[in-house]
């Protein structure tokens, strides 16, 4: 017998996971919502101090069509247009639904206030003051989830394997961090909502739990990934001085509310030299800004910490305070006075455009297996617009929850105890780790993060990628098999790290193989040995696991019927 049983199992309890759980429960399903950290406190959503892009048209005229056009343009021709259209179409109703559930979007003159953000053609981005969007929406969803009796929440439970039988997902095996036990969960439908992969990189904006598990779990279960080479590097992540109590990507709203100059180490503006204009208006897209900053650093014109200066010294203190109120005091506590000093910023891994390949109902090719939020690949193509990530979390979460609940009403495959036992027998020796002569998992994680940053970062070459691939394969085949793991049962982080590393290595390999095969530069994927965009590469790459090997292949992008697209 499985230890737990449910209609819908949601893996990961950030914005997408909680939204999916609510939607599934509203359609009559019993739901188990698990998180390896604490429900509603991990993942990326809660980290977002910034904005949510939706075509509400409350600030100025806007339309779903216009939002879609901006999204597709940023995606450099590679968006799955059906997914992008879904994001834009359903975004407004999700934002209003969140307001109905208690989120207090910033308002003025009786309407939701919307700001400009890079790449958007109108003021479209709503937010919660001050820099509190993520924590506020996470709190709303936590409260909503806790009010629904059909949702069982379980914290500190890390799903480490999806069980499949005859091409159907039938449940999962999970590590209970409280006591180190592996438990089994039967489910008629499962939703992967465990977020992205930013933890693979040394410089990142992630919380501690974004190790790419959703992608690895999908591959192991037989589902496909798409666009894995497109990791978004947030161009102006905070580098120095050391800042605590703030999200490292906090400077974006400062720039689009107040301007703010991006200067190189010699205090010169430089974005215009890289095919974009900026000049205080902040309309360079993320990929161009990241590229320009690192090129300046490479040319010896970087700042002491290897980035660029972000300078607000031309802006009056009163203006800073009226825009960001208490945040100015938090900065002061960190010894930062924006009227006197410029801060140092640079690219950090921030988001993953790639992910699990799904249809518009968030279905993978494995029956009963769904994905939601950042775990989904394709909607944003080669580059994501700022503000689209939380929209995607809500929209795809709601869609996945509804679709999984409908699927769970049908009779699905019976529980196969033998499969569960087989999975346990594979994983328990790994857990109990009979050879203890190797490195600790966290040491190897640090090595992998450094490797990914240096070899698979914002600038890539075939040579660096091939070296990275060789090391990652060796880590998977050798180091992973003889990890040193402490023997404690209670809250054993070595164990947690070991399972996480196992997923990180599979996901890292998918990124590197995809990056190697794309011999051009496009959006967030920049190859120094292939600096131009190549029209022949206007295709997506799909990754799958076949007989233990990760294989990539090319497919044509999913396009919308244009007459349908212009309806909006």
């Amino acid at each position: 017998m499985p230890d737990l049983s449910t209609d819908v199992l949601v893996i990961g309890a950030g914005g997408a996971g909680m939204y999916a759980a609510i939607a599934a429960a509203q359609r009559g399903s019993s739901v188990i919502l698990v998180d390896k950290g604490q429900v509603g406190r991990g993942g990326a959503t809660i980290m977002a101090q910034m904005t949510v892009a939706v075509a509400l048209g409350q600030q100025e005229p806007d339309s779903v069509t216009l939002h879609l056009e901006d999204t597709l343009r940023a995606g450099r021709g590679l968006c799955n247009e059906e997914l992008a259209a879904l994001l834009c179409e359903d975004g407004p109703q999700r934002i209003l639904e969140m307001e109905h559930w208690g989120t207090r979007w910033a308002r003025e003159n009786g309407h939701i206030k919307q700001e400009m953000a890079p790449g958007h053609s109108v003021k479209r981005c709503c937010y919660v003051d001050f820099l509190n969007t993520g924590p506020a929406v996470a709190a709303t969803l936590r409260r909503k989830v806790s009010e629904i009796p059909a949702i069982r929440r379980i914290s500190n439970l890390a799903v480490v394997d999806i069980l499949t039988h005859d091409g159907q997902a039938i449940g999962a095996v999970a590590l209970n961090l409280a006591d180190g036990d592996l438990i089994t969960i039967q489910a008629s439908a499962l939703i992967l909502a465990a977020g992205g992969l930013t933890k693979l990189y040394e410089r990142n904006s992630a919380s501690a739990n974004m190790g790419g598990e959703a992608y690895a779990l999908a591959l192991w279960a037989g589902a496909e990934l798409i666009d894995m080479e497109f990791v978004q590097f947030f161009p102006i992540g905070h580098l120095a001085p050391r800042l605590v109590g703030m999200d490292p990507i906090m400077w974006d709203p400062f720039r689009y509310k107040l301007g703010g100059k991006l200067l190189n180490g010699q205090f010169q503006e430089f974005i215009d030299r890289y095919g974009s204009t900026d000049f205080g208006q902040y309309n360079a897209t993320r990929d161009i800004a990241a590229y320009a900053i690192l090129k300046e650093v490479e040319a010896g014109r970087g700042t002491p910490h290897g980035g660029a200066y972000l300078d607000f010294r031309h802006i009056a203190e009163s203006e800073l305070r009226s825009a960001f109120g208490p945040v100015i005091d938090r900065l002061a506590a960190n010894g930062i006075d924006l009227t006197k000093t410029a801060v140092e910023v640079g690219p950090i891994a921030h988001y993953h455009m790639g992910g699990v390949r799904v249809d518009v109902n968030m279905r993978t090719r494995i029956e009963g297996l769904y994905a939601a939020g950042e775990a989904v690949g394709g909607a944003n193509g080669a580059n994501r617009l700022s503000g689209n990530a939380i929209t995607e979390a809500f929209v795809f979460g709601a869609r996945a929850g509804s679709a999984a609940a409908e699927a769970a009403k049908r009779e699905f495959g019976r529980w196969e105890e033998s499969l569960a036992n087989e999975s346990r027998q594979r994983l328990e020796p790994f857990r109990d780790n009979l050879q203890r002569d190797g490195a600790t998992p966290i040491t190897l994680q640090a090595e992998l993060q450094k490797l990914m940053w240096e070899q698979v970062g914002p600038f890539r070459t075939g040579e660096k990628l091939a070296e990275a691939l060789a090391r990652i394969e060796r880590m998977r085949k050798e180091d992973l098999q003889r990890l040193s793991i402490g023997g404690a049962r209670e809250f054993n982080l070595d164990l947690h790290d070991a399972f996480e590393l196992r997923a990180m290595l599979t996901t890292a390999e998918a990124v590197v193989r995809s990056a190697l095969a794309r011999t051009e530069s496009r959006g967030a994927h920049q190859r120094e040995d292939f600096p131009n965009t190549d029209a022949r590469c206007l295709k997506n790459q799909v990754v799958e696991l076949k007989e233990g090997e990760l294989l990539t292949r090319w497919i044509a992008p999913v396009r919308l019927n244009r007459s349908e697209a212009s309806r909006g």
């Binding site: 604490q38 929440r153 914290s155 800042l243 703030m246």
Partner: protein, 113 residues
Amino acid sequence: MANEVKKTAHLRIRRGLPDGEGHYDEFEVPFEDGMSVLDALRWIRTYVDSSLAIRYSCINANACKTCMALVNREVEYTCMARLTPGVVTVEPLPKRPLIRDLVTDIVPEDEKL
């Protein structure tokens, strides 16, 4: 500079299980201006003793609110508490049931297995 003396912080960390004796382990951590107590705890796990049990998620943003401990006898978010050169004592929250080392039971009852 060749003669630069690297600053260090000394952490005294309360270790152990609820039913055991408990003890303090001492760690020396390279100190950089502005670093947090959580930075030091993560450094210890990565480079010295990965068996140290700690709880955190957002690392830096003070968004997840799960990293609380006693820092020099005061309840603090370890991600917000500034490390200082010299001795810093870190202990688990006193009013929560101890799980192991610095991890206490802060998970709501209805979120447990």
